[in-house]
């Protein structure tokens, strides 16, 4: 449980920083949206992973797409941009989870 909470907090911070680096504005808003998006996707993804979802890679793809849509809707940016932000953010956090939590 503690590991899951730490993973969530780290994911929120890392994804917030990545989007901030791209957008360079409204940090509080980006942080708030990062909290919402990752609190929505990470626990659900973790639950699915431990409860029978067939493939980690497929799960990450689903998470990447869902987050891209949420980033687009919340930050009011174009879909290609949101895809890019989501891709970079999820790549970084996935690599972190592989190195630090496995």
């Amino acid at each position: 449980m503690f590991t899951s909470v730490v993973a969530l907090l780290l994911t929120i911070v890392v994804e917030f920083l990545i989007i901030l680096i791209f957008l360079r504005k409204e940090p509080l808003k980006i942080f708030f949206y990062s909290c919402l998006i990752n609190t929505f996707t990470l626990p659900l993804a973790t639950y699915l992973y431990f409860n029978g979802f067939p493939s980690f890679v497929l799960l990450e793809v689903v998470v990447f797409l869902v987050e891209a849509v949420l980033i687009k809707l919340l930050l009011k940016i174009s879909f290609p941009k949101s895809l890019l932000f989501s891709l970079v953010a999820n790549l970084v956090t996935t690599l972190m989870s592989i190195f630090f939590f496995q």
């Binding site: 449980m1 590991t3 899951s4 909470v5 949206y33 909290c35 919402l36 998006i37 609190t39 929505f40 996707t41 626990p43 659900l44 973790t46 639950y47 992973y49 431990f50 409860n51 949420l70 809707l73 919340l74």
Partner: protein
Amino acid sequence: MYLFRKIFFFLSLAFLAVPHFAQADIIPTGYKSVGYCFQISNLDQYKDYTFIAYFGDPMGGHEIIQKDDCVSFYKFSSPTIYAVKNSDFQNVKIPTDYKSEKTFFESNKKLLSSSLTLYSFGTVPENDPTEKVVDVLEIVGISDENLEIKKLKVLYSYENKSTEEKMYTNQSSRPESSWDQNSRLMYILLPTLAGIGIIAVLLARKLRNK
């Protein structure tokens, strides 16, 4: 040659399928097995009886339950608990071959069987700290024709050496550990609240723009 290739192709498909049957005994990636056993808390109150767990299909086997024993069994078995008067059990030898043993337990009128259904615990996700689960049973009563046993409580033991006891309130479902309850909070409640937050932000924005 063509026929040989066809046979080889179908044999290869068959070999690809075989691991899936063998996988019934393999723990899937991301999961771990948890030790499980059951014990009877009040055997002392029934000193005139011998209690036997018969494990049934698919492997057979049986175990005489002693005080303080914690009986474990093959994960796909579903044992039945029998009671027999000590006077009827003296000099009785329970057969060890599968068929004779099954006949012994199913047709011996001196054995009283409990209708209690027991299942092994199975596997849990790797991040679950549960190490061992013990079902504690209690003999409710024995008559000439009936053996009644109920599930009293379940003991969860965790990796950090702590234990937790949960009383059974429903005989057909095992009480969840606190970890399971906290997991539900973490994995379902949090994303639900976040989802509601996202919808609220989008709705508020839509209303403001009207």
